[in-house]
Point group: D2
Chain length 346, copies 4
């Protein structure tokens, strides 16, 4: 059994981690910490866990935890993990950080987009960007995994083969993404007060969302160029799910089948990526509660563009599920251990 | 492995059955039938099953199926099962009927409320009402299980101990119930067209809903009297969930603790019933995707009434989950086999 | 033109007041005050008012306002109005209080249910309970109107004729009410955080909601008895609307038509009450954005009960609309002036 | 009073027309026709109209209607209006067609995108594209108005000044649009069955939606070039509203203020277009129930793109409201007559 600690267990991502890990046959949660609910039982905070998880939330103490746990999941607001994690901890336990602190290779880029100091830039070269389907080999050997953002996972998986195979113009990429409200977290804010976001749609953080440099970093690595993309997130009145509608200019005329072959080259054996048949497109309802990333696309001859659509559950493949997938890789388990939940519809 | 056939697999209840049974360690689905989608693969109808269940839906042939299957689940509109099921089938396979045809012991009551002939009244005495927590012993010995309705399950479990223990006036019972839209099924109807039911609430089938006699039959059996209740269902703009708010006049002054002891007497060892602490009340979000029935109550001294609130997921404990629980009982498995999913929130 | 001041303009009720009054041909808003947004323009707080109302929100000063305004609307949390209003203000301006402070005739009952001191009990006998259809004559002569609560309006209008005409057992009344989320106001709270209340239903403040004594007071006055009722509010994932499902034991056998005649006796000439035909029941979508109260009922011979269903828009007939209706009465205008909006569906 | 007939009054657009026109001081509805509900009163079909509009829906007879009405609104599926309208009718009454039949100047383009014959191509040169803010002068002189589509109105108004003023690369335009479900109409379809579209988002008709050629026609006219755009519609789980997120490559470096001046040049005096301040972006909730089109934009220096966001209520400015605006222009009324409703939030 893998001994697991979760730091920041009472946000939505933390709660989803608990849900997945409690149903994981090889993991044992030894510690839940919380900033807001120290001393409360987990089931008082999330009543779905009544009779299932009555663990008392403790104050965070990563040092101590690293001595008891095999792996520590961090589900914290950005700027905290880079203060807490250090080389000594990483010697004792593996760390999977679900926040942003170790995702960007360049601390300057981090500081610019996140408007805060990075407290452990020396760890950035050790950290591996935990997009499992693409970085599997590096993940295996690392002790510090930077679990990707939700928008990022969906976008990169959708576009990666096209950039790797030099199919689309690198300067033409536009990603118009849509997220359910759980992506905004559990902290109170007028924006996600029920009345303020139901029955409406809006774009936000236009041309300034912090997942942008992550996408640019990873897709740039795929095509070996520095690239800039347009990324626009939108808030959708639903609980879970991300849909990324991605546009790129095709470098030359290609058929749908040719593009499909490219996707198959990278993803055919991936158990968490499902490629849609011609004319079928992802919808977030079909991945809800699961670790799948569904991808479909259309080749538009009229405009010479490809439109790729990706869908994930933001809390699973976009956060807790992928984190557990990373854990499975780190500990040499079958990658889908504990992640076989069939998407729940309706 | 239990060989399973599902007749009527492409409605929401059928789909939930497939989802649960595919994750059940002891069951193997050998046949899916559908009225509307013969020849289509299940994953074309429900894209969440892409790459998971590509079984082709077949035309229904219960006779033949009974020779190959150990158990047949029927998820059909009322009036069909009583035509299809017969003694010869029941000799070859166990049948769990998720429809209404075998729930009412009295064929006349059935014909009156359902406005249709009952085609096999002779089977009614063989059929066991499959409310697992209450009829466990009889279920074990039966070949024909009448799986209870969704409103019914929630209501009976909420009130059963009070009637059994003679705590409330039998003539005073009012059940004001609320259901998510999936309870109305997948057949198209203006009532459940998105625009017509989102952002609104209504009562329907007031004083005439067909789950009423089921509740009266079972609660009447508990208190050994003929009873009539007021039952009012409401449609709530959400996917899943039933909340039953039940009112009864207390026969004498009692405390919350005394009532809790009564509930504990019946339910303390039940793994799918969760009794809420004082001041905590069920909400449908806390049981979503699970087989739990949550029960909480308030003793109102001012009015001399008890208000009991029950919550279930209508597709799980209210249909497919309870059906699988019945299967587990029928085949001598641990009752929670394949039913351990933690409620998914959000 | 009636000069109007709104104290507490930036809550949902305040905002609805602004919307209605700006479209009212005889009113002129001279002052908007806010606790949270002093110095901000109204359209910055509510962007629907961009280019329509750029009035700057001011700090509240009722004394001063009473010298400039003909009528002051108070849309404040309970406990504040009873501190602010006094005899001198009421000499200078009429006051319509949308809060709870002047609704209960008995200050003790207020203090018991609201758990706070009442600061001006001497005004309670001057205050008129502003349920227009029932208290019209007294409203006309008053300077201090206690605008009823949202649940209350819907419940009292639904049951009033039955109690007035002695049709139902006064001890048998159960009101199971359902409200959209806007009823909970704009102040942040985890309960009405989007994720926490969408896709779910719950009961709350069971046997303890503060609208209970209001209903008992007014229905008790109708039947000239002290009565206690069971009142259970529920939170529904929708923006606007209240549905009250009311149960009462019939004192004798009556027909639907006989009951309808009773309702007609009281409401036939009321322009804001719509009585539904036999077999038709109110739904909140049909009254959205309007000042209507829709009422329908069923006489259930099996149980000897009547089930009455009422629906209103909680922000209009349940708050701002009725407040304007009260203003119209106070100033001798046609009662529907500025209130003719057709319900908006969808 | 303008005598008005509505053909196809019982769809959502028809119903919204009735709602607006009944509150319009200069119009009088003389006839409502319906395909599905002949002989039923309008209030039986839409209960919000109880006591407000009990007009009986008749069978359509445009010929006869044209003799009695001053203006006929057609709210029909495509392919019907071009059969019904002819020169003789247009001599007797003005026609405002809310369908697609007269929007595209080129009958071949129509037949190609709509996959059906055009039955009156000779009327296409008489028809004026009824986008009021842009075609006001031509509308005034016409008898046949082709009221624009919902996506189209929002997109064209958002981009028109940029193309007119040659600011963005004509080949770079991508429109990622999102619509509430009412845009899909009232006809039953599994896609808009509640359960199938709530709690999810999807793109549909990718690279093939029929509003595309309309947008290309009108924006092409603005920049005097043939253009092709990428247009991707999405279905959002909400009732009303369209949000268009539009991307274009800037031809040269410009500031936000310079772009704002361009928008002001075209829209400053438009009462139904609201330009957002820097950093503020449209959200559909702020225009609900109103005829406004809100526009905001960001100039992204990193990518050299402009992102323009437009929002309308699809049933008002995207259909019935704009149709009435066209009527007002046709009959020389103030353009906002009957259209002054303040957006309703929440």
């Amino acid at each position: 059994m893998i001994r697991v600690g979760i730091v920041g267990a009472t946000g939505y991502v933390g709660e989803e981690l608990v849900r997945i890990l409690m149903q994981h046959p090889e993991s044992h949660i030894i510690n839940l910490t919380s900033q807001s609910y120290v001393g409360k039982s987990f089931s008082q905070i999330y009543h779905n866990f009544e009779g299932i998880c009555n663990t008392i939330c403790e104050e965070e103490d990563i040092e101590k935890l690293s001595e008891e746990a095999d792996v520590i999941f961090l589900a914290l607001p950005h700027g905290i993990a880079s203060k807490k994690v250090n080389a000594s901890i990483l010697k004792k336990a593996k760390v999977i950080d679900l926040g942003a602190d170790f995702r960007l290779k360049n601390a300057n880029v981090y500081e610019q987009w996140y408007n805060t100091e990075h407290f452990s830039p020396e760890l950035l070269k050790e950290a591996v960007y935990g997009l499992c389907e693409i970085k599997r080999d590096q993940i295996q050997k690392s002790n510090l995994i930077a679990n990707p953002g939700c928008y990022t996972t969906c976008t990169i998986l959708s576009l990666y083969p096209l950039l790797k195979e030099n199919v689309i113009d690198e300067d033409s990429i536009i990603v118009d993404a849509k997220s359910g409200v759980s992506g905004a977290g559990r902290a109170l804010s007028l924006d996600i007060h029920y009345i303020e976001c139901t029955e409406s749609i809006k774009a936000y953080k236009i041309a300034s969302h912090r997942h942008t440099p992550e996408i640019e970093q990873e897709l740039g690595e795929a095509c070996k160029k520095d690239i800039t993309i347009s990324f626009t997130p939108h808030l959708i009145p639903m609980n879970r799910g991300i849909l990324a509608t991605c546009y790129g200019k095709l470098k030359k005329k290609v058929t749908w089948d040719e593009i499909m072959n490219i996707y198959k080259k990278y993803y055919e054996k991936e158990q968490f990526i499902r490629l849609m048949n011609k004319g079928v497109y992802p919808e977030t309802r079909w991945v809800k509660g699961s670790n799948y990333c569904d991808i479909g696309f259309s080749v538009d001859e009229r405009t010479g563009r490809i439109i790729v659509i990706g869908a994930i559950d933001n809390l699973v493949k976009g956060a807790a599920g992928q984190a557990v997938q990373n854990m499975n890789i780190l500990f040499g388990l079958k990658e889908n251990t504990g992640l076989n939940q069939i998407p729940m519809f309706p």
